[in-house]
Amino acid sequence: MAREQHDYDDIPGTFVFDQERSRQGYGINMFCMSLMQEENRKAFKANEAEYLKKFNLTPQQTDAILKRDYNRMLELGGNIYFTAKLGATDGHSFRHLAAEMTGSTQEDYANMMLAGGRSVEGNRSKSGKAAKTAKAAKPRAKARAKKSRSKRG
């Protein structure tokens, strides 16, 4: 069955960790939780593919983990607070992972943050429906609501 569509799927560059992704990615997130223990980190590092067999993962999920493809892990149901534990096992911070997921170099990403971060302008909507600011959208929504109320009345 294809993924059910939600309003938030329109936000670009974002994988919302919802109930469906949580169901799908249970194995990824439980694998990541296991890395909270030192002996598990060692076992994973010693033979990654073998260690991953202990978890209920699809071949695509296993592949994403082995390749450290963080965006793909999120798409397949991983959550950043969990996958960050894999990052930590590799010695990386949240910011390091964030830079990787955006496709920037570490330096470029750090400079973008120092300059005030990524602007929301142009980053609100894939479809362009919500391209304008939320404030601008509100009065229209209110006007529509009034109209429909007056029709009913």
């Binding site: 309003d7 560059g13 959550n79 969990f82 910011r95 964030a98 973008m112 971060g117 609100r124």
Partner: protein
């Protein structure tokens, strides 16, 4: 009678904790962040609450994906710092206030908030970073703390309105506790940030500043922000800001904003911080007014019944 005297909100960025633990607070990048909390620490030192309620979220430390409670109230006698993968943070064990926590649990559940009671829980940076920002790094925390963990990791988190109303129920619970305690409530997390996916690094200062303004003056407006708007405007993880509304709901309608600080960035995040104080109450006249209002309401109800 116990009373909530003030509310504090603050971001809880893990890198702030790391900067404290690694003694980097004097480095220019971090000094910019920490200097914004100097006045807050002085305020806390003067205020000396008897108990703090800290609303925060767990980040896959105490709760994995096995159990995901929407609201989990820490009712234990103590809460050790969690090992988040680098060993537990070198901060004191958080001492709870089991009596007040039990009272709050009993009261809010009867008020229709079906919270989870937690008697064993480790607390992560979500709770300990704001503690450091307001109390510094003492050998022991100066007062007991009741943790309230809110799920903002697995979508959907509770709505902003639900959070605000839980705050209202907490206020009622605290005010019905017989011992004279002065309570400060923390709302933590945010402000705008996204740490996941290709849109990571998103910051929206305009949204954040409007949120801070309305938190003081018109919090009801904030309770109407739908989840999609938080995620779109303030980043996927910016949705944490719903937790600030629990803090705000636990305060009176009219509050005094005594301090505010905002800076970008700390790691991936816009750091926001605000201190709101309840105004001193003239208790007796207020009580009289309420009674007379009740009399009028009762008289009106009688008239209605007669007419009906």
């Amino acid at each position: 009678m116990a009373r909530i005297i003030a509310g504090v909100s603050s971001s809880h960025v893990p890198a702030i904790g790391a900067a404290i633990d690694n003694h980097q607070t004097e480095e220019p990048y971090w000094k910019r962040v920490f200097s914004g909390f100097e006045k807050s620490k002085e305020w806390m030192e003067r205020t000396k609450p008897d108990v703090c309620i800290v609303v925060y979220n767990d980040h896959a430390s105490a709760f994995s994906v096995e159990i995901v409670p929407t609201f989990a109230l820490g009712c234990a006698a103590e809460f050790p710092p969690a090992d988040e993968g680098w060993g537990p943070r070198p901060v004191p064990v958080v001492k709870g206030h089991p009596q007040l926590a039990a009272h709050i649990a009993q009261s809010v559940i009867l008020d229709e908030f079906d919270i989870t009671v937690v008697n064993k829980m480790e607390v992560d940076h979500g709770l300990t970073v704001p503690m450091n920002l307001l109390f510094g790094s003492p050998k022991a925390w100066p007062c007991p703390v009741i943790p309230l963990a809110v799920n903002v990791v697995l979508y959907p988190p509770p709505t902003g309105h639900r959070c605000f109303m839980l705050g209202r129920a907490i206020k009622k619970a605290v005010e019905s506790y017989p011992e004279d305690l002065r309570v400060v409530i923390f709302g933590t997390g945010g402000m705008s940030h996204q740490i996941s996916g290709p849109r990571a690094g998103l910051i929206n200062s305009k949204f954040d500043k409007a949120f801070l303004d309305n938190l003081t003056k018109d919090p009801k407006k904030l309770t109407r922000i739908p989840h999609i708007e938080y995620m779109r405007e303030a980043g996927a993880e910016g949705i944490e800001m719903v937790m600030w509304l629990i803090m705000r709901g636990a305060l009176d309608d009219k509050v005094d904003e005594v301090y505010r600080f905002y800076t970008v960035p700390a790691s991936n995040t816009a750091v926001g911080h605000i201190i709101l104080e309840n105004r001193a109450r003239a208790r007796k006249p207020a009580a009289k007014l309420t009674r007379s209002k009740m009399k009028r309401a009762a008289a009106r109800a009688k008239v209605e019944r007669i007419r009906g």
